[in-house]
């Protein structure tokens, strides 16, 4: 990246991570330190382009001397602290979180969920079939994107992406409280009556596939979605001169969806409707 040093380089601080002395720049989270050290901590509501909300608690770690477990995604590393990422307590807590989530929501399209469930020996059916939080048909009210709230874990990432952190369209927000809380449009209407501008920035951050491309949704329904044979190629949007970076997901020579690199200085993972959905013209063949 083209870096202009505006301030002095950040100072490093030292702490102990799973028994190892670790140095990270001031302001880093425990999760940043874990990732830098190559540790694989499960995360769901954390978004690399968003301010942490610490809603899901699947990333918890044990901080020595603290009464409660700390969410690695949002707890800042402090000099001298001692952190255990894989202690029995932390593992047990993750297991419970995964069980609660997996028994109440459909994690079938959550990347890595199955892997974590196995790793933490979670029993998703522990609370029986009545635990399902919702049981509704996916909402298909336009040709671009589908909302399947059975898969929603209410991490609020989409609300943040649509709201003041990025898009500022405020088309989706949280309705209801407590058990009734859910992501919704104004008056729970169809997207086409909302303020949605179909930038798909909410889809980009959704960790579970509750929000997805219609193209992906249809292919999954038809049983033709196959990530193993897909390629991902990053190129530049064909439309305006902003120059957004598009990652084209291609399966059998068809563009099946478009994402955007999160660490890119132009887009930070965001696109507009044309970049996100306007690829079809090259495929009119």
């Amino acid at each position: 990246m083209t870096v202009i040093p505006l301030r002095l380089p950040r100072r490093l601080l030292e702490f102990t991570l799973d028994g190892q002395e670790t140095r990270v720049p001031e302001g880093s989270t425990i999760l940043d330190a874990c990732r830098a050290a190559g540790k694989d901590i499960p995360t769901l509501c954390e978004g690399d382009t968003l301010t942490p909300k610490n809603a899901c608690r699947v990333c918890v770690v044990e901080v020595e001397g603290a009464r409660v477990l700390a969410p690695a995604c949002s707890r800042k590393a402090e000099a001298g602290m001692t952190v255990l990422t894989d202690s029995p307590r932390a593992r047990h807590s993750r297991k419970i979180v995964l069980e609660l989530l997996a028994s109440s929501t459909d994690l079938s399209t959550t990347p890595r969920a199955a892997e974590w469930i196995k790793e933490y020996k979670a029993k998703p059916d522990r609370f029986g079939p009545d635990a399902a939080r919702l049981d509704e048909e996916p909402k298909i009210d336009n040709d671009l994107y589908v909302r399947d709230y059975d898969k929603c874990i209410q991490c609020y990432k989409c609300v943040d992406a649509c709201g003041e952190q990025w898009q500022n369209s405020f088309a989706i927000s949280v309705a209801g409280r407590g058990f009734d809380a859910r992501i919704s449009t104004e008056h729970d209407g169809p997207l086409t009556d909302s303020a949605c501008v179909y930038c798909g920035n909410c889809i980009e951050v959704c960790p579970t596939g509750a929000l997805s491309f219609k193209s992906e949704f249809d292919m999954r329904e038809a049983g033709t979605w196959n990530e193993e044979i897909q390629t991902e190629t990053t190129t530049i949007c064909a439309y305006c001169g902003v120059g957004c970076n598009l990652t084209l997901h291609v399966q059998e020579n068809e563009i099946v969806k478009v994402t955007s690199p999160h660490d890119n200085p132009v887009t930070h993972g965001n696109l507009c409707i044309k970049g996100r959905f306007g690829f079809q013209h090259v495929q009119e063949r």
Binding site: L6, T234, A238, C240, G243, G278, V282
Partner: protein, 655 residues
């Protein structure tokens, strides 16, 4: 009121070459050899009267090869592209002041500036991801001012909206400048150090008091004063504009009037302070940088400089004519007079994108030979003698493009092209070979490396570095360092030698739109873009946008009432050049006497039949933003039928 088709015509990819056996006859399928032979023969016969329309949507590499083809194979500098219809005034204005046609800042600086002045730009719709940087800037505490005849959704975010009359940007800018000077807020040390012509400028703006400007521009004096003080007092400020400034018969003067404000306040050449034209096409910046313009060689080097020419002459083993070629605008005029007989048009769609499009089509029909290379059979391709199917530059081709912040980024091939379609560069090289110049490039990277060897500003950008840094902004003369994100820091240098050429104030005068409103044509029509559609709609027509509702003429509620028309009702819209029919939409963001349309659906409503070909004499850009029109209610023909859902209510303001 009939139900309108919501999805515009979709274009199918061209998968094999097409030729036309005789003028007026049909296009028929041909093999590559036959098509290329015909194209070569047609171009060969027209040596000396040839023009290249290069493509501002294709890669830098393709633009480099296209202009080299024009200069080396065809021996002329007649190469241009659609930058002429949009941002040529920005390039002309910026290079007259700073010697370089690029915007001076980067997007990241917008996140960290103190004031953002959006002038004639509905960025929330036209440049949405740039606007995210603006929004971040606002969240970080920047104040935004929006200057626009329409109260757009961009203006909704502004601290203050200055709704000026179409075509009064210079009076407004002059009044802002005068107020800054009179309040003693101008940056005297910067003016003395880095600029020339301040005295003349001060004299030029002197008559533009707030009161006079209020009368001419329609903006309350207090709002002008407020903007002047805020802009001058801001520690850092970004001045951004788009086609609202450039698409006028005096677009370059408009640009100069805005740059004057940055010179007056020293808001240029520093991190967070600068001027940014936001480009409309993905590679307008790059096309010009690559020399696909009639007056510059690759690296934006002036063709009239003997040293520059001789460098290219020895690199290309050729002789370069020491003269500027024809602009796109001049080429169209030369088609009329028969001075231009053959055109090689790559991408582009002038048959629908030119102002007064009917005239443009008539002119192209006069050509002896029109070769069109495209991915679709556009309205322009339908006029061609030879049609060559190309790959989509952004998804089926390797190369680079350059965005509005001068960032050169890699485009990469992700899918295989359809049928017999071939890459632009290969096609051009095949034609060059048939015309006696057997060029071979192994790949796009070898074209890029040739460009690097002749363009100092690009020398440091290897493909490897471009990938590593997620794009690099020019200038980048060295392979081991990255320059600052902003241009012209030199203007702040203490040392006059390093400071270089001083920046001249532009002494420009108010000149109202050419197409005057009167009793017959009482409404001012201005044009622009919608969020989900793009230019002549050829690409965006293919995806099912829920936002799309086809073309409408947008009126303010008062005018709609005055004409007795309601949303969805078809009206006749006439200018001094043509007549079209479109339904009405009511937009409270418009003011009485102002109507708005786009060019996105030319197959449904050909808005460019209305626009005027009044060109900026310096840049050649037409006055798309200011036509005079008349609106007529159509006689009711039978009962209302069909579903009109979605057309009956006033639009929700989308933001």
């Amino acid at each position: 009121m009939k139900k309108r088709e919501r999805t515009p015509k979709t274009y199918a990819r061209i998968t094999h070459p097409l030729v036309r056996d005789k003028k007026g006859g049909p296009l028929r399928r041909a093999g590559w050899d036959e098509a290329l032979d015909r194209a070569a023969a047609g171009l060969d016969a027209a040596r000396g009267s040839f023009g290249m329309l290069s493509c501002a949507r294709a890669t830098n590499e393709m633009n480099y090869v296209a202009q080299k083809f024009t200069r080396v194979v065809m021996g002329t500098n007649n190469v241009d592209s659609c930058n002429r219809t949009c941002h040529a005034p920005s390039v002309a204005g910026l290079s007259a002041v700073f010697g370089s046609g690029g915007g001076t800042s980067s997007y990241g600086e917008v996140d960290h500036t103190d004031l953002i002045l959006m002038w004639g730009s509905n960025a929330r719709f036209a440049h949405p991801i740039f606007f995210q940087h603006v929004l971040r800037g606002i969240r970080n505490g920047a104040r935004m001012y929006a200057v626009d005849p329409r109260r757009t959704s961009t203006a909704e975010w502004a601290e203050s909206w200055l709704g000026l009359n179409v075509g009064t940007d210079i009076p407004l800018a002059h009044a802002v400048g005068r107020e800054i000077i009179h309040a003693g807020l101008h940056n005297t040390s910067f003016i003395e150090r880095a600029t020339t012509g301040f005295e003349d400028y001060a004299a030029e703006v002197e008559p533009w008091t707030l009161a006079v400007a209020e009368k001419v521009t329609g903006v309350p004096a207090e709002a002008i004063r407020d903007l002047a003080h805020a802009y001058a007092r801001a520690e850092r400020a970004q001045l951004c504009w788009t086609l609202g400034i450039t698409e006028h018969h005096n677009g370059t003067d408009n640009v100069r009037a805005l740059i004057n404000l940055s010179l007056l306040t020293g808001h240029v050449g520093r991190y967070g302070s600068g001027v940014q034209p936001l480009r409309g096409q993905n590679n307008v910046q790059g096309g010009g940088d690559m020399g696909a313009i009639p007056n510059r060689l690759p690296g934006f080097q002036d063709i009239l400089e003997p040293d520059v020419r001789s460098k290219f002459e020895s690199a290309w083993n050729t002789v370069i004519r020491p003269e500027y070629g024809m602009t796109l605008t001049q080429m169209f005029e030369a088609m009329e007079t028969g001075d231009l007989k053959a055109v090689y048009c790559i991408g582009e769609n002038p048959a629908q994108s030119e102002a007064d499009s009917e005239q443009a089509v008539e002119r192209m029909k006069k050509l002896d030979c029109l070769v069109v290379q495209d991915i679709f059979l556009t309205a322009t391709a339908e006029l061609a003698d030879v049609v060559l199917p190309a790959t989509a530059a952004w998804a089926e081709t390797d190369g680079t493009t350059t965005n509005s912040e001068r960032r050169v980024q890699r485009v990469r091939k992700a899918v295989e092209p359809p049928g017999e379609a071939r890459e632009d560069i290969d096609i051009i090289c095949d034609l060059a070979g048939r015309l006696g110049h057997p060029w071979k490039y192994a790949d796009a990277e070898s074209v890029w490396n040739e460009l690097r060897s002749v363009s100092p500003d690009h020398y440091g950008m290897t493909y490897e570095r471009l990938a590593e840094h997620q794009g690099i902004q020019w200038p980048c003369p060295d392979t081991d360092r990255i320059e600052p994100t902003y241009l012209h820091g030199r203007l702040w240098d203490e040392d006059p030698a390093r400071r270089g050429r001083l920046a001249p104030f532009g002494i420009v005068k108010h000149d109202p739109p050419v197409d005057l409103t009167d009793d017959q044509y009482p409404i001012r029509l201005t044009t622009g873009r919608r969020l989900d559609s793009y230019n002549t709609g050829v690409q965006t027509g293919s995806f099912a946008s829920p936002l799309r509702r086809g073309e409408y003429v947008e009126l303010c509620p008062e005018d709609a009432e005055r004409y007795g028309v309601s949303v969805g009702e078809e009206v006749r819209i006439s200018s001094r050049r043509g007549t079209v029919q479109a339904p009405v939409w009511v937009d409270p963001g418009l003011r009485p006497g102002l109507a708005f349309m786009t060019m996105h659906f030319p197959d449904e409503v050909d808005t460019n039949q209305l626009t005027i070909e009044a060109n900026c004499p310096i840049a050649g850009t037409a006055e798309f933003k200011a036509s005079a029109i008349r609106i007529e209610k159509l006689p009711v023909s039978g009962p209302v039928s069909g579903s009109v859902s979605g057309f009956v209510s006033a639009p929700a303001v989308r933001s």
